[in-house]
């Protein structure tokens, strides 16, 4: 088996091991811990008060703006990784191209900044 595939067997095995460890710990706790639920115990915690409604509702849209910005920048950094590895082979051509690419994104960041999208409130 080539070494390349074996590496990913390791990755897979570690993921499975993580799930198994968590399961084993929960099982052990299940065997050792008491289990006497009452109505009060199973209530949602709200600082000792009677819980009001559910939490599944609306939340601030600021998160949405930052998530949009993040998507743009995260795609950018994924493009940067292959360029960084082949940096010396690509030389000036690669650098100029990447600078233009980053420049376009910086213009976007400046636009968001000027539009006050980066201000939390």
């Amino acid at each position: 088996m080539p070494d390349y595939n074996l590496s990913y067997v390791y990755v897979f095995a570690f993921f499975v091991a993580g799930a198994l460890v968590v399961t084993a710990m929960m099982l052990l706790s299940h065997l050792l811990a008491p289990w006497k639920p009452t109505r009060e115990k199973l209530k949602t915690y709200e600082s000792g008060e009677e819980p009001v409604g559910q939490a599944w509702g609306r939340y601030p849209t600021h998160f949405y703006v930052f998530a949009l910005l993040f998507v743009v920048f995260d795609v950018e950094v994924i493009f940067l990784f292959p360029w960084a590895v082949l940096f010396r082979d690509l030389g000036w051509y690669g650098l100029v191209e990447m600078t233009i690419f980053i420049g376009i994104l910086v213009v976007g960041l400046v636009y968001a900044w000027k539009k006050k999208a980066l201000n939390w409130y």
């Binding site: 074996l6 067997v9 570690f14 710990m25 706790s29 811990a33 915690y45 993040f70 940067l80 990784f81």
Partner: protein, 374 residues
């Protein structure tokens, strides 16, 4: 018949090595967490002029064991309104990627789970999977504190991922490989990357603090505002798994710092006894773990707007500048790293000196505005 290492048949050795690796890493995570909780308590105690754990065992060494046993015996409560399957799966979603990122950590020459050729990218990918588990935990709890904690965590982690990866790319530019072993091998002796790229180190470390939800960026679990953030509904063993994952993640970030900037296993006598590299690697990693705790005991927590503007208005422009400057200088001077190092140190000095100045000017302007408004 071919004979593998230790005179064992290679067909038996391959699965055996995998099992040994998994067991070692699981042991490492558990022991690391025990050691780090003890360290954290003692360091905080020393900084706050207290004694810390003292009574359980010599110097309180057994305190964390006692806590672990206590946590095992606690009732596993799941509130009625929670989303059952997501609530149960969340600890696993946080824990598994953390465990899997140990695959590529180069502990010593030849001692690495698997030397992936995309090691660094793999590390960052797994690091950002944590946010998924935290958001799921916050949402599934159906608790207002948990939801706020989970959302804050999402906003914080996705923002800080950008400067984090940009800092890593700067190192990749200089080193030219994504393999963790390759990066470690590129820094023999005193040729540490931190001497060439100190700014990337500082920005990565700040982003790493945010990525692990550590103080001063511990907004997702800010106990003075959100009870325990996304952990509010979790108790007993499930809660312990989140904490195991957090301490494991701190070790992962520290070991990335060690590998990328501080020469990984390199140190005296490594050429003679390769195994001693494990010692150097552990010492360097734990130095940064201690720095994590030192920072926690020293700095107050940021507000969420300060957190976001530090990331988007300071760190991202800075890391982008650093990236472009480093790339240009590397091409202008292909044979030497000295100009890159000089530029980096100058940028770092500008960052350290100008940031307080800029903040002060903003504060003065704000005061002026408030006074004229009044």
């Amino acid at each position: 018949m071919p004979v593998g290492p230790f005179g064992i048949d290679p067909f038996i050795w391959a699965p055996l090595r995998l099992v040994i690796a998994v067991l070692l890493v699981v042991g490492l995570v558990f022991n690391g967490a025990l050691a780090q909780i003890y360290l954290e308590r003692k360091i905080q105690a020393v900084i706050q002029d207290r004694l810390g754990p003292l009574h359980t065992g010599p110097w309180g060494l057994l305190q964390t064991f006692a806590d672990a046993i206590k946590l095992l015996g606690k009732e596993d409560i799941r509130a009625r309104l929670t989303d059952k399957w997501f609530f149960l799966a969340a600890p696993s979603i946080v824990f598994s990627p953390m465990l899997a990122s140990y695959v590529v950590i180069p502990f010593a020459p030849g001692i690495v789970g698997a030397d992936l050729n995309v090691g660094l990218l793999y590390m960052t990918t797994l690091g950002s999977m944590t946010v998924l588990g935290i958001v799921i935990a916050g949402w599934a709890s159906n608790n207002k504190y948990s939801l706020m904690g989970g959302l804050r965590s999402a906003g914080q982690l996705i923002s800080y991922e950008v400067p984090q990866i940009l800092s890593l790319v700067t190192v990749v530019l200089v080193v030219g490989t994504l393999s963790m072993v390759g990066i470690a091998e590129s820094q023999p002796g005193w040729q540490l990357n931190v001497l060439v790229l100190p700014l990337a180190f500082v920005t990565y470390f700040i982003a790493g603090l945010a990525e692990t939800n550590r103080a001063p960026f511990d907004l997702p679990e800010a106990e003075s505002e959100l009870v325990a953030g996304f952990l509010t509904e979790y108790s007993g063993m499930r809660w312990a798994i989140f904490f195991l994952a957090e301490y494991g993640e701190i070790t992962v970030v520290s070991s990335i710092v060690t590998t990328l900037w501080f020469g990984a296993w390199h140190g005296p006598f490594v050429e003679v006894f390769p195994l001693i590299g494990v010692l150097w690697f552990t010492l360097k990693t734990y130095f940064f773990v201690v720095v994590f705790m030192w920072i926690r005991a020293t700095l107050p927590r940021l507000r969420i707007d300060q957190l976001m503007s530090l990331c988007w208005k300071v760190l991202i422009p800075l890391t982008l500048t650093n990236l472009v400057v480093t790339a240009t200088l590397l091409l202008v001077f292909p044979s030497t790293l000295v100009p890159v190092a000089i530029a980096n140190w100058i940028l770092l000095a500008a960052f350290v000196l100008l940031l307080p100045y800029v903040q002060r000017r903003r504060l003065v302007a704000l005061r002026e505005r408030l006074r004229t408004a009044a």
